[in-house]
Amino acid sequence: MKKVSIMLLIGVMVIGSLFAQGSNEKSKAPGKQTVVFWNGYTGPDRTVLEELVKKYNESQNTVEIKMEIMPWDTLYQKLMPAMIAGNAPDLIAMSVGRYMEYAQAGKLANLEDLLASSSLKRDDLVPGLMNAGMYQGSQYAMPMAFAAMVMYYNKDMFTAAGLDPDNPPKTLTELQDAWAKLVKKDANGNVTQYAQAIGVKSTVAMIPVFMWMYGAEYIQDGKSVLNSPEAVQALEMLAQAFQRNVSPVGLTGQEADNLFSAGKAAIEFNGPWAIPGFRGAGINLGIAEVPAGKNGRKTWGGDTILSISKDSKVKEAAWNFIEYWNSVEAQRTWALKVGFPPTRVDMSGDKELLAGNPDIIYFLNSAKYAEIFMADQPKSGRIDEEILVPLYEAVTRGTTKPAEALQAADAKLNALLAEK
């Protein structure tokens, strides 16, 4: 019977492979130290990263980087068990907002000594990321990828709405004027065009940008400063905007991206990774820095850092790679091919870079006022999920008035910060 033979075949394969094992983690080339490197650069960035690592591996005889790439979600799910079991990778890339929990738990290596005796200098690198990488006065994380959030807009939609496609809004007032002109509805009341896709959860920090325009802050000196008149003003403005259908409610970052790509929203705040996708989807893309508010302009900065695990036996080897990664050459390749601005501050005049990627100027400019959101908070993930997202949702859906919601959030935030 066919079924029996299939089962037999599978049976043989199974017995055979029971003797097969996963490849050994230790190095193949004699004398080369293996550094196991976990990161989440799946998607289109992966090829560039693999290319750079290959170049590094081939350029010298002492260190071999062995990468294991998985989605970021997966990486964090696996990191905890691996650390407990003593299998932690040597080199770990993490979102800048997440490494601190591990530093606090004593799982990451203190990089101060390595930095002090390195050819790579602290001042070479983006201050925002370097500062964010410090925990209790010592460096625990080095920059891997720096991104700043800029404003993307659909030039065709601007033209159709009577706005100048080459003169995007520079201030909040101008932005609000543009919003009014960009929202379109059909006869049945369905919104056919949104002004701006604003994500409230699982997203880069779009709403904080608005808060910062009013000069509102989140945490200062370890205490919540959420409940401020500026914050109330900012959220009231947003609540009204959502009521006027400037954006759909409850969007995740991904959904906001999809909305913009599909040509149903005229504006979106996003990072450099989005450019190829947007252009590929046929959007006539305009890029600009985020508008300034009356009380300030700040944009979200961030992305990823590199840490070395405390128990790693090849710390110097891992550090060697970190030096390579943050070198002008490597950063230029990364910036050109992936579109992220370099992690170094001495490349803003780099001709090759500017010629190869003209969009990068917006990110280089934004880097000057980009803030790594809640950089010094180990609990930033929880704060976002348990306090900020419910706050944003309640306000933008109109279920709670901003003043009330902020008061409640303020209390919750202080309670969470006080938790051990």
């Binding site: 199974v14 029971l18 097969a20 996963g22 799946t42 998607g43 960035d45 905890m80 959007i283």
Partner: protein
């Protein structure tokens, strides 16, 4: 059972309506696997591709070691299915037909294992596997799954409805318990075994969490883990993901269709007994 032509027609009509709800998502997915990424992102509201491209499939095959992932998934899911069918039916038969002291309590204990969510036990299990030094190996991935409460429960159910006379007849013929199991019981429940086999295979074929936790290197990873490589943090490569999904479904579908045939044969066998 014979149906009148009108009854046949009405049922077919109703089923077609229901079928649309099931069909549309797969149609969209299959169509999208043939669209360029720009079309998926730029025009997600469209169903059929304006221009058909095979690029997603070629990306899939060139950007990840698809063949290796496919092989690993076959070994993982296939191996577990074979062992599980054996152990589950053995235990299921005993629970159904062979009374021993404490049998019912032990059965409830087996059921209990279905009542704790895996998210809670997976960390202790992972640490156990680590202590046994079988992380990132096939035995490590497969051992906890070689038998399964659902399978045991299902086979027990199946054996319960087999008449006891068959067993008595077997004993009279001089067969020992093992012989009865092998020669008499198993053939009677082939339909259930087929069904359970499909279930085990598909559950493990699509399992993401456990293989993801247990494997570190691409030479051990299974298909769902591999396809996740197209899911970026900020940017998802939808085209290859959809084409990967289409290719993932095909093997199980084929197995299901083959199992159907055995299914029907099995029915014919038990139907005669009446």
């Amino acid at each position: 059972m014979k149906l009148s032509k009108t009854a046949n027609g009405i049922i077919l009509f109703v089923f077609s309506l229901v079928g649309i709800v099931f069909f549309v998502p797969f149609l969209w997915m299959a169509c999208s696997s043939l669209k360029p990424e720009s079309m998926i992102m730029g025009h997600p509201e469209q169903m059929f591709p304006r221009s058909v491209t095979l690029q997603n499939y070629s990306s899939l095959l060139s950007k990840i070691p698809f063949g290796r992932f496919l092989f690993n998934s076959f070994v993982f899911a296939g191996g577990i299915t074979i062992f599980s069918l054996f152990f589950d039916s053995l235990a299921g038969y005993a629970f159904a037909k062979l009374p021993f002291k404490g049998r019912d309590v032990v059965f409830v204990l087996v059921l209990v294992t279905m009542m704790i969510p895996f998210q809670v036990t997976m960390i202790p299990l992972y640490l156990l596997m680590n202590n046994l030094h079988i992380l990132n190996t096939f035995p490590g991935m497969m051992l906890p799954r070689l038998t399964n409460a659902f399978g045991i429960y299902f086979m027990r159910q199946s054996f319960l409805s087999v008449p006891g006379d068959l067993i008595d007849a077997g004993r009279i013929d001089g067969l020992n318990e093992w012989g009865i199991y092998q020669r008499i019981m198993l053939p009677v429940v082939t339909a259930s075994l087929s069904t359970l086999g499909v279930f085990h295979f598909m559950y493990n074929w699509n399992d993401f969490l456990w293989p993801m936790l247990m494997t570190n290197t691409t030479d051990m990873q299974t298909l769902p883990v591999g396809l996740a490589l197209f899911q970026g943090e900020h940017v998802m490569e939808h085209g290859p993901i959809f084409s990967g999904a289409v290719l993932s479904i095909l093997p199980i579908l084929i197995i299901f269709l083959c199992a159907q045939k055995t299914f029907i044969k099995g029915i014919a066998l038990s139907g005669i007994k009446g």
